[in-house]
């Protein structure tokens, strides 16, 4: 493709960046409304056969994992090598049986996002409470957010309240407003 007169490249393309992404050193905040007012935090996971829930203390008593990974926002920024601490979604689903293949993540404040269960299980997703060694700030979804780093970051629901499996896939909040149903950054699954 022909170059555009006058726009000179000023940065190297980093192979760690998915197509169309640029490197961000800050941490932009994207939310559809105000941060929710969470009075009593509780996390729930439910399938068609049962459910489990954790208080904040119960949640912190679960096995913890430290993850270093890149994150990719659909608005085209990526952060490389970010450090997180939290609980694997596998741990949360441990002991719950399900034949269902989809899940809806639901947040305090009403936000929702849908994911195939296979994108949440198998060491691919966590519920994180610590970012770069500090408690996760409210504007980034604190006290705890879903973390699915292999998908665009709108799937990593802030202020996570619960995960419910579903027999049939349904779109969540942004998926209803024109965003892609799946959201793989390497395939540029941005918009529907």
């Amino acid at each position: 493709m022909a170059g555009f007169e006058g726009f000179a490249s000023r940065r190297q393309t980093d192979p760690a960046l998915p197509p169309g992404q640029h490197l961000e050193r800050g941490f932009p905040v994207l939310s559809a409304g105000p941060d929710p007012n969470i009075k009593v935090w509780e996390l729930q996971v439910a399938t068609e056969t049962g459910q489990r829930s954790w208080s904040w203390d119960d949640f912190l008593a679960l096995p913890q994992e430290d993850i270093t990974t890149d994150i990719h926002c659909v608005t085209s920024w990526s952060k490389l090598g970010t450090h997180w601490r939290g609980v694997s979604v596998d741990t949360l689903f441990d002991g719950l049986k399900t034949e269902q293949r989809f899940a809806m993540a639901r947040s305090y404040g009403g936000y929702t996002t849908n994911l195939p269960l296979e994108d949440l299980l198998g060491g691919k997703a966590w519920v994180m409470h610590t970012f770069e060694g500090r408690p996760l700030a409210s504007e980034h979804g604190g006290p705890a957010r879903l973390f699915v780093p292999h998908l665009y970051f709108w799937k990593s629901a802030k202020w996570l309240q619960g995960i419910q499996t579903m027999a049939v896939d349904r779109p969540g909040f942004w998926e209803n407003y024109g965003y892609h149903n799946h959201g793989d950054p390497w395939k540029e699954e941005r918009y529907a």
Partner: protein
């Protein structure tokens, strides 16, 4: 498909402030456009390097400056030059009429206003965050809608006001109110002392809680502060829509 990159050309650039300008683009096969949506812009350098950025639309094909229609398949964005920016200095200083670029979108279905929406609208913008709010005002003026719209616009100083003349002209439009709140330097005769928005401003310049939808757009710290003030004044969080830029 809104996912496809489409060729576009710059039709016009107009200064907005000392460090920003409005850019009119003609986009091939531009689909339906709703006020409040954004587009992605892609620039390609001679060596193949590409850079993509998102910009809110400040004008839609039907609702251009003053509510008059733009040309067919045309939209406008307002770009603020960021000193360390990679794309904005090119868009503000170098891009000239006839220059090509690529556009994806428009996208977004949440921070938008449709002429069929019947609720009163309160717009609250900070700095360049006023752009999508002006698109909403322009769409309302271009339509047959008569819903009340009120804009509270927080800016540093008189010379940093985007769309200044047009916003001043809206004082004669029925059911449209524009209030400016200066944070650093206020013009002579301004009753409100310079400063960031306070609960008093929300009381004076924002519609009553429960009476419609509030759209808030600006830098993250601005949006966070304003939404806190709105919630403290009794607004339902479901009535508040936000669009933010910049880090925390």
């Amino acid at each position: 498909m809104s996912t496809d990159w489409r060729p576009a050309i710059c039709v016009q650039g107009r200064p907005e402030t000392l460090s920003s300008r409005s850019i009119r683009l003609k986009v091939d096969n531009l689909g339906p456009v709703v006020a409040g949506q954004h587009i992605d812009i892609r620039l390609t350098a001679d060596d193949g390097y590409q850079a993509v950025r998102s910009y809110s639309l400040s004008a839609t094909p039907r609702g251009g400056p003053g509510g008059t229609p733009l040309g067919n398949s045309e939209v406008e964005i307002a770009v603020e030059e960021l000193p360390e920016g990679e794309v904005s200095p090119y868009l503000v200083e170098a891009l000239a009429p006839g220059d090509p670029l690529e556009v994806r979108g428009p996208v977004g279905g949440w921070f938008v206003w449709h002429p069929t929406d019947s609720e009163p609208v309160q717009l609250i913008g900070g700095g360049s965050g006023v752009a999508p709010l002006v698109a909403i005002l322009r769409a309302r003026i271009a339509s047959t809608s008569a819903v009340p719209m009120r804009l509270l616009y927080s800016v540093r100083a008189p010379d940093t006001v985007y769309f200044a003349d047009e916003l001043a002209s809206y004082t004669t439009s029925p059911n449209i109110t524009v209030d400016l709140a200066y944070t650093r330097v206020a013009p002579h005769g301004e009753a409100r002392p310079p400063g960031r928005l306070t609960d008093r401003d929300i009381e004076n310049f924002v519609q009553e809680p429960g009476s419609g939808i509030v759209y808030v757009c600006g830098p993250n710290s601005f949006v966070a502060a304003v939404t806190d003030l709105l919630l403290a004044r009794g607004y339902d969080s479901a009535a508040i829509r936000t669009e933010r830029f910049g880090g925390a």
